[in-house]
């Protein structure tokens, strides 16, 4: 019995311990940035592009097409978003960014579905193509425009608009400021309660309309994929296209739709980076977030809300590196304790060597933590990427992949 309880705790240690640790460390004055509304707000802003890319991956992979090209489609989103935003305005930019991504999704679909090119090969080619196209377009489109260079666009025009909920987060009604309930609680500094208030405030305060739009796609995806005929058909072609075709499902069409939506969502992810973020297109701006999106899709086990959770995690890591290198330093002790717990867990399972390795690493991080004031910013720069590797290493290995993922399907090959 006791053993069972231990087991179930250990099984969830990957989720429980870090949350607990972050909460505890956040109580220290030095690291209080870890759980402020500001950090959570930034985490959401940074999580959205990853989430959108992850959802993009979901639509594509559910129809059986591996999409490594998310990154490239996202690049298209950033450039077309910036161009549309500069030329026509913010919302138009969002739409044009989505179109740009969708166009590249369509190219991926043509290569993988109609020509049965290896999905990863095509994805890699898409990424290279996107980088080249974005650079070229940027050069010719903004040739004579001030503040643009070959690797950066001018600033977008217009504003997407922000929302702060009145009463709960202190938003305005008729131009008058209202009370800020969660802000009040956050300032009380009560253990757990204030941290939670910070989290809620992050969602309610100063939130871009584009963020709301993006978040709405999560439940929408559940509805579309699991509760409509088209969603059922899309999922079926990723599982068993031969069977789907025998029931009159247009397999190619479903795959085309899935991959094109995937491109549009990645495009939206890119446009979000520009329009709700930097305000301009910068070369290399996506920084591997398309791939992190894929990771969040795996972490979320091909479920929209799982993807939301996963991207939230990555967004949080990203937010820390941007807002407070100091707080990242606090992460060191968290990692040290986490590894220590891991060492205990493996010891409990009688795996001595992994346990020893965890213990050594744990002490290493602890020593590093104690002997330094902050983490060099070059290390801070790759926090999201190393988080990705760590999270994937420890997350659930029993992912339910679509059965025929990555397998080229040729029409009319009914046995």
């Amino acid at each position: 019995m006791t053993q069972n309880i231990f087991r179930s705790i250990f099984r969830r240690y990957i989720v429980i311990t870090p949350i607990l640790l972050v909460l505890i460390v956040a109580q220290m004055e030095e690291y209080s940035q870890l759980t402020t509304s500001g950090t959570f707000g930034a985490a959401i802003r940074l999580a959205i592009p990853i989430m959108l890319a992850g959802l993009g991956g979901l639509y594509s992979e559910k129809t059986g097409v591996v999409n490594i090209g998310l990154e490239g489609m996202m690049i298209m989103g950033t450039w077309f978003g910036a161009w549309g935003g500069f030329t026509f305005g913010a919302w138009q930019g969002v739409f044009i960014g989505m179109l740009g991504g969708a166009l590249f999704g369509l190219i991926h679909a043509i290569a993988t579905v109609s020509f049965q090119v290896d999905h990863i090969v095509s994805g890699v080619a898409i990424n290279i193509l996107a980088a080249g196209v974005a650079r070229f377009l940027n050069v010719i489109a903004f040739e004579d425009i001030a503040f643009a260079s070959s690797t950066a666009s001018p600033r977008i025009t217009g504003d997407i608009g922000k929302l702060t909920v009145p009463y709960l987060a202190g938003g305005n009604i008729n131009g008058e400021e209202t009370s800020n309930f969660f802000g009040y609680i956050e300032d009380l500094n009560i253990f757990l309660v204030s941290d939670f208030a910070g989290l809620v405030l992050g969602f309610l305060s100063n939130i871009s309309h584009l963020t709301i739009f993006a978040l709405a796609i999560v439940p929408l995806s559940v509805l579309v994929l699991w509760n409509t005929p088209i969603g059922l058909q899309m999922r079926s072609v990723g599982e068993y296209p031969t069977g789907s075709e025998s029931l009159g499902v247009n397999v190619y069409l479903m795959k085309y739709i899935g991959v094109t939506i995937s491109g549009a969502l990645s495009g939206l992810a890119g446009a979000y980076l520009v329009i709700a973020g930097t305000g301009i297109y910068l070369e290399g701006q996506t920084g591997g977030r398309g791939f992190i999106g894929l990771a969040s899709m795996l972490f979320g086990n091909y479920k929209p809300f799982g993807i939301l959770m996963g991207s939230g995690l990555f967004g949080f890591a990203d937010a820390l590196q941007l807002r407070s290198p100091k707080a990242v330093h606090g992460l060191l002790v968290i990692i040290a304790i986490f590894l220590f717990v891991l060492a205990l867990k493996t010891l409990f399972e009688k795996k001595y060597i992994p346990s020893l390795i965890s213990l050594v690493l744990s002490s290493g991080f602890l020593i590093w933590f104690l002997n330094s004031e902050s983490i060099p910013n070059q290390f801070v720069y790759f926090t999201p990427h190393i988080t990705t590797l760590i999270v994937l290493s420890f997350s659930n290995q029993r992912i339910k992949l679509p059965e025929k993922i990555g397998v080229p399907y040729k029409k009319g090959e009914l046995s």
């Binding site: 999922r235 068993y240 069977g243 009159g248 499902v249 059965e403």
Partner: protein, 503 residues
């Protein structure tokens, strides 16, 4: 006359093959009509034409007395023709309900209406007395249940004519009885059934009318009452069906493979098999019977070292091989014919010369001191296999994918036997191949056994299993539940043990 389907002089040819030649067949309403013939006789082509998957080159089809000109399965479905494929067309990560309603609605954005459909499907199920839990994932169903889902699927689409392609090939005898009961129910309710098979006993049990095909032609259509099994067999192949050849030597006392209470479980603690023990002797064929998924596949894989075992020991020629790698085991004289030749035994986009090396990359014959591949020896060996096992191929430079299934399988069997192994593990060695290749493989297995080879035979074809084996052990839920001598066992007996009905 009340005809469900009436074809007139249908012909269809593929490059180099006349698959159907002037086939005219009349299928009565509310009857069970069997179409029999060996592999390659043209049954599948006829079936594809009736289901709209291919168009005939010439000839006419009438469905319920109306001329029909189908060019897709969708049109066939609209005319009331449904088909249950031999390989189930089901997505295993979707529920039964989702599988059944897939494709009924246009791909649109509206509510899927699961509740509504559930009610409608339950009505259909009660009309035809079929039963299944609609909310289960297909993955968790047994083979018989999956087949039932397929039948419900086509009935729900309003099928009045049901084409069943080799429906019993994957079932154990008890499931076959269940199926036949269901089919008779359907017939009572006005459904016409086209039953494609090459198992004559079953055909005689279930069918009202029987049509026999051979080399693309319809030999004859007869009433069940007017024909005997021998007559059918003669019509089907012009001579009697091949049976496994008799053995000519006694089994020796020398234990080649000795397995001592091995147990294996998956990462999440599910048991693959528990406490399994058996031995295979020199000059013996030991048959393993079992419904798919009862641990026999994992046991075999643990013998060649692909599956891990938690406890127990495996002895080969008296030596414990627990800690040997797959490669060491294969090179020490264990040969393996996996159940899926295209997926597990051959590299389809490589030529036969390369394919003969597979599984033996590191033996001296193929590996030089410089760690390079001795391609000349491989050419010689592949030529050898091709001539000894009658593999029909232009030359050794042909890609494996260009060969027919029977020739691929003969090549694999030849490759595995040509190396003088002391143990051969043969998994489904004659599945889905033509009669000629089947009898050649039987003969070669028998010959090798008579010459001292120990053979572990896994087969879903119970006739083959009983005919070839000296002894048979039965797997049920990951354990060996029974050992039988093949001399006094019937397929029905075996089926009883395989499904746990008999103990």
């Amino acid at each position: 006359m009340n005809l469900a389907i009436n074809t007139k002089n249908i012909s269809k040819s593929y490059p180099g093959v006349l698959a159907n030649s002037n086939v005219s067949v009349q299928i009565k309403k509310s009857s069970i009509h069997a179409i029999v013939g060996e592999n390659g006789a043209g049954k599948s082509t006829l079936m594809k034409i009736l289901y709209g998957m291919t168009k005939p080159d010439q000839g006419e089809i009438e469905v319920f007395d109306q001329p029909a000109n189908m060019s897709s399965p969708k049109e066939a479905i609209n005319l009331g023709i449904g088909m249950v494929h031999q390989h189930f067309m089901l997505a295993k990560n979707l529920t039964v309900l989702e599988n059944i309603i897939l494709g009924i609605d246009k791909p649109s954005i509206k509510n899927l209406g699961l509740k509504k459909y559930k009610k409608l499907i339950e009505e259909v199920m009660s009309t035809y007395s079929l039963d299944i839990d609609l909310d289960m994932f297909v993955e968790d169903l047994s083979v018989g249940e999956k087949q039932r889902v397929e039948i419900i699927k086509v009935l729900f689409r309003g099928a009045k004519i049901l084409i069943l392609d080799e429906p019993t090939a994957v079932l154990v005898p008890q499931e076959v009885n269940e199926l036949f009961k269901n089919l008779n129910n359907l017939k009572q309710n006005g459904v016409t059934i086209i039953f494609i098979s090459h198992k004559l006993d079953e055909v005689l049990e279930i069918a009202d009318d029987i049509s026999v095909m051979r080399t693309g032609e319809l030999i004859d259509s007869v009433k069940n009452e007017n024909v005997s099994k021998t007559e059918l067999a003669e019509m089907m192949i012009g001579k009697s069906l091949p049976t496994p050849p008799p053995r000519s030597t006694e089994t020796k006392q020398n234990k080649i493979l000795d397995i001592k209470s091995i147990t294996s479980e998956s990462v999440d603690g599910r048991k693959f098999f528990t406490d399994v023990s058996f031995s295979v002797f020199e000059s013996e064929i030991l048959g393993i019977a079992g419904v798919e998924g009862n641990g026999q596949k994992e046991v075999v894989e643990s013998i060649i070292g692909i599956q891990n075992i938690e406890s127990g020991e495996i002895f080969f020629n008296g030596e414990n091989i627990n800690n040997k790698t797959t490669r060491q085991r294969l090179e020490s004289g264990i040969s393996f014919i996996p159940e899926d030749r295209q997926l597990q035994a051959m590299i389809m986009d490589m030529n036969l010369t390369n394919n003969v090396i597979i599984g033996r990359q590191n033996i001296e014959k193929y590996k030089s001191n410089l760690a390079t591949v001795k391609i000349k020896n491989a050419i010689k060996e592949s030529e050898n296999v091709i001539s000894l096992f009658d593999v029909k191929t232009p030359n050794t430079n042909t890609l494996a994918t260009a060969l027919s299934g029977g020739n691929q399988q003969k090549f694999v069997v030849g490759r595995e036997l040509e190396d003088n192994p002391s143990l051969l593990i043969a998994s489904q060695p004659t599945r889905g191949i033509d009669i000629g290749a089947q009898s050649l493989i039987w003969e070669k297995l028998r010959q090798s056994r008579d010459n001292g080879l120990a053979v572990l035979l896994i087969s879903a074809d119970l006739e083959e299993l009983i005919g070839l084996s000296d002894r048979i052990i039965v797997f049920y839920q990951g354990s060996t539940v029974k050992e039988l001598s093949s001399d006094d066992v019937s397929p029905e007996d075996l089926g009883g043990y395989m499904t746990g009905l008999k103990k």
